[in-house]
């Protein structure tokens, strides 16, 4: 028997020989086959599913047998207990090659399956771009006053534009003579930050573009801006290709910990994606990447470090030390970016080990320091970054909400996409639901709904849908304040039914049955308790019992109904007219930094003013967390909310403690 085996991945058709015992995922990667991986190959995410193509493939000279793969092992069985593993599907990370096989990679297992476009928020930005073009006429060389070409160029820049004491990149010094003579002593120069000549063109040149990049863990979005008008000329986005090293940040950090030296791969992946986005945006705007002279970046601390080529493993454990938290200005080519050779890059500063340059972007977009109103800024992702403050004081922390708000960890959860339930109402008497799905304007009880949703189907519940479902279940009394689904209601409506030792609520029974289980409620409770606990921790530190304004940043914040988020107790009580979405505030912050040079100094000094609170070492966080497990909260009053919503009366205190409080503490203990 041979020591290695032939493996062919379809539909790519890539093939190679591998030692027996090699995991399929590893073989696929070494061949450059595009297979998603989310958990770093630990059999948890289920994104790397493949199936065996059984039979004789004469054309390829291979007989592909199921016996040529390792049997379903403990890892896959553990996965299958949590999530359905369709017949014939295998986790490629946990399946070993034992002989020749042909492997099918389904579309949903491919990384590049989705291109996400983040809309650009409409904000007013004062235009003061760091890179500006200056057209000058330079006096010709004169033997009687032998100043160099560069010196005469500097004279012209000082005389015509008031720019004195400039530095000049070496490559510009090297190319200056040719440009001056080709332009017959008329040139256009690009000056960065009124301090350095970074580009020169013969004659008149008017193209000056910059790109603002929001490097998210999941999505990277780039907005190409005309630096002279401030106008966004193209916006493009794509999945962060680092996803193949792990879906969430800590999976990626774990991957690097387990594969020392691999941080360079993650850096190359994100830089490569940025280059592709820059080229794509340039093409969409009818320019080239070489017309891009400046770039700005926001991202969480791990993305920030990987973009800069810094190993992020220190961010994976206490004390969560950043290598640098300063704003960084450098040459874009030092980041491996293929823009104009002289292009600069500005990376916004980080606030702390868990509060990154993305939060700096939110602060810059929202400027809570300019308001008298005590404001909470929340950017919900896998972690929630929270800023509390006003013109007197700013506090920030990060709270580990986990991915439940994004539909993960929810039995019928899915990303926001056509077919996903996004709005839910439940009749208080009949306990019957009605809902809306993405891609259809009708409610489910309106005529024509079935026909209108036939194409997309009704496939799952997205983040905003689960918030509404749970809040409506609470308002209808199906969920008690402690989060338990009240099985006694099964008598009133069979949608409430036993589900093992607990109960569930069937939202929809169709091709896919959508149930809200007790575990789903618990997952959201844990997430919302973490979020509210973070906010309460900052309120404590600030010495306030109420906030005056709440701004929700990020895609999640754009889609949820703030009333339901408040009902569920994600947020503290607040006048609902003062609770609103801030849109993609981090990206907006990047755009502001790109277009407004002074904003770069502003955010650097603002971030230094922010008082950081580390939830992981704050004993009060656990206490707040336990209190916040109740819906909307065990002790905090919600008078503003009560004015617009009929909140169920509190159960007797003993019952709540006896049934929910202990469990909440237990859960909290598990997380600590």
């Amino acid at each position: 028997m041979a020591d290695d085996a032939l493996v062919i991945f379809m539909p790519a058709g890539r093939r190679g020989r591998f030692p027996l015992g090699t995991p399929l995922l590893q073989a696929a990667r070494s061949l450059g086959v595009d297979i998603d991986s989310v958990c770093g190959g630990r059999g948890i995410c289920g994104r790397c599913q493949v199936s065996l193509a059984e039979g004789e493939f004469a054309k390829h000279g291979i007989v592909s047998l199921s016996a040529n793969l390792s049997a379903l092992g403990e890892v896959e069985e553990r996965y299958a207990r949590r999530k359905p593993l369709a017949a014939g599907r295998r986790l490629s990370c946990s399946t070993l090659i034992l002989g020749d096989v042909v492997i099918d990679v389904p579309e949903e297992s491919q990384v590049h399956r989705q291109v996400v476009r983040k809309a650009v928020e409409a904000v007013t930005i004062e235009l003061d771009a760091a890179v500006r073009l200056h057209y000058v006429e330079v006096r010709e060389p004169d033997m009687h006053a032998p100043a160099s070409d560069l010196r005469r160029l500097m004279e012209a820049l000082e005389c015509e534009w008031g720019l004195a004491g400039l530095a000049c990149d070496l490559d510009i010094v090297q190319s200056l003579q040719a440009a001056l003579r080709q332009g017959e002593w008329k040139v256009t120069v690009a000056v960065h930050d009124e301090s350095t000549i970074i580009a020169v063109w013969p004659g008149f040149h008017e193209k000056a573009y910059g790109v603002a990049v929001d490097v998210g863990s999941t999505t990277i979005a780039a907005h190409l801006c005309d630096l002279s008008s401030g106008e966004v000329v193209a916006s493009v986005g794509r999945m962060n290709p680092q996803i193949r090293f792990g879906e969430d940040l800590m999976s990626r950090v774990s991957y690097i910990m387990m594969n020392p030296g691999s941080e360079g791969e993650l850096t190359a992946a994100v830089r490569g994606a940025i280059n592709e986005l820059a080229a794509e945006a340039a093409a969409a705007a009818g320019i080239t990447a070489a017309d891009i002279l400046d770039a700005s970046f926001v991202g969480n601390p791990v993305m920030h470090h990987l973009l800069l080529g810094i190993n992020p493993v220190e961010l994976g454990g206490a004390p969560f030390a950043l290598a640098t938290d300063s704003a960084t200005t450098l040459r874009a080519r030092d980041l491996g970016l293929a823009l104009h050779p002289g292009a600069r890059a500005f990376i916004l500063p980080c606030v702390a080990g868990h509060v990154g340059a993305d939060t700096a972007g939110v602060i810059l977009a929202e400027r809570p320091d300019t308001s008298d109103k005590l404001t909470v800024l929340v950017d919900v992702g896998t972690n929630a970054e929270i800023v509390l403050g006003n013109r007197d004081r700013l506090l920030a922390c990060s709270s580990p909400t986990g991915p439940a708000f994004e539909g993960a960890q929810i039995s019928c959860g899915q990303r926001a996409a056509p077919g996903a339930v996004e709005r839910v109402r439940i009749d208080r008497e009949s306990l019957e639901p009605r809902f809306k799905v993405i891609g259809c304007a009708l409610w489910s009880d309106e005529p024509g709904f079935a026909a209108a949703t036939q194409r997309t189907g009704i496939t799952g519940i997205c983040g905003s849908g689960i918030i509404e479902a749970l809040a409506e279940m609470f308002l209808a009394g199906i969920i008690r304040r402690d989060g338990t689904i009240d099985g006694a209601l099964a008598a009133r409506n069979p949608r409430i039914h036993a589900d093992g030792p607990t109960f569930a609520y069937t939202l929809h029974a169709g091709a896919v049955t959508l149930r809200i289980t007790q575990n789903d409620v618990r997952a959201i409770q844990l997430a919302k308790a973490a979020l509210q606990a973070g906010i309460r921790l900052l309120m404590d530190r600030m010495g306030v019992a109420e906030v005056e304004r709440i701004r929700l940043a990020g895609a999640f914040g754009s889609h949820i109904d703030v009333k339901y988020a408040t009902v569920l107790g994600m947020l503290p009580d607040c006048d609902l007219a003062e609770v609103s979405s801030a849109g993609n505030a981090a990206g907006t912050g990047a755009r502001i930094a790109l277009l407004d040079r002074r904003a770069r100094r502003t955010i650097e000094s603002l971030v230094r003013r922010v008082e950081k609170v580390e939830t992981a070492v704050e004993p009060k966080f656990q206490a707040h967390f336990v209190e916040a497990m109740a819906i909307p909260h065990r002790t905090a009053p919600y008078p503003h909310l009560a004015r617009v919503v009929d909140l169920p009366a509190a159960e007797p205190a003993g019952e709540t403690r006896g049934r929910g409080g202990r469990r909440a503490r237990l859960r909290a203990g598990e997380r600590g």
Copy 2:
């Protein structure tokens, strides 16, 4: 008959096939065979001589016939009329391949035949190195005050060393975490110019070196200095490998003009040589090139531009525009230098198109601006750079002396090396000479001289020797004030004898006969007239008739007897006690810039204060030149000199004009 032929170069043994008609030199270069070339392949320098190895070389499968090379052509015949071309020798630049040949490359035709070591001058330099090491203890990361590693390092540098607001190279940010943890929160950082962190080492590190480099057209010298003591720990030198593109600057510029794009080759050649010197100096000092953290450079404008990677062709013709004349600070790696990755480089500023960073180095070493005495600084090379001034005012120009002072263009001239005549005395009555040669302490009329010189022989006259020979001939009346050798004296001593239509003086008759011909005198007259005319032009501009001090920089200035230089009229009259050598002042200037950070700002502002005079467009220069053809000068008095030397009486004015003046004007016209 084949279209190409096999050529083998010995002793290297390199071989290749070349189209018939290819010049041998071109074939040699394409094979990387080390053949000198000085004039850029124009058949003038004779440095590229080779010879045919005739016969059958069975081992190589080749029959090498003289018929397989082109016959002696006009270029070689013209060369042979000027200089002897030994039997069998060919100029490889002018000899075409017509069939298979084996070619011998004699040692003296190889570029890398000589390693020159420039002695380091003893000067007092105030030590204030631009790169300094700072050992710090950094507080450990603290979740309750989450400042980044870099920020805490900065805090320590500010607290312990008073260094505030530092920048930090990206690669240091990338490596900082590891260094801090490896050093257990104790690190040594290198800070450049109190502004930027350029290196970091775990724990205590004390090696900090810098290298001062004098990039001459002929020789490159590097002095490795301990930045903490200022001590020179190694000095090394070598020929500038650019010599293979042309010996003098203008040959190299011509080469680039004729071969567009080739400037990169010359840049690579000089940078490669600097890397070799740095490694060699480091090895000599027991360190590695990675311990070198700073470098400083001086060089004439063409060397300055080529080092920086700037095309120097604009310097080859009016208006001689420099690309940049500013002092330049950059990362050494941007110059392709393999020092410490964070090492910096400082290139001294240029003064004007003909007055380079080498002159800036001389000014920095001599600081004429600090003296009340009106001083002339002269750096004699192929051009003479002249600075005139004192604390009130500084003037500078460059004068085209040509290479005669270096022994070129002199029939029996040679470089300063053992066997070369360097001192000459001629008896005023008998007209008999005595002399000394390099490598022997005895005069030629002392007992034991013949035995002592047997090994080296008496092979030629070096630059200082020719100055003394001509000055003594003048003082003995053999040469008249107009420069003609007085044939009437043949009656008194047969050493004076007819030489075609003119006369010559035989200094020595031996294995090699050393004669001073009329052409030799003319060559020195042209050179010295150019030098004195440049000085006079600056004196005119300054409005003075006398100078108080003369300093001669460079190797030439170190070896000549200032009395004879004055007798010959190279220099204006001056108290001889105030005429002295400044040693290798340009190199000293580089060392000062390396070791004294403040000197960098000083020289940048000093150079900008210098008033530049362009001899090429100054009508008075020609007039001064003609006047200065006479020995010592046609009109200027030499009272200081007359006090120590019996100068011959001036001939009747009519005779001088009739015989020498006209010829001098003619020569001057030829040069313009």
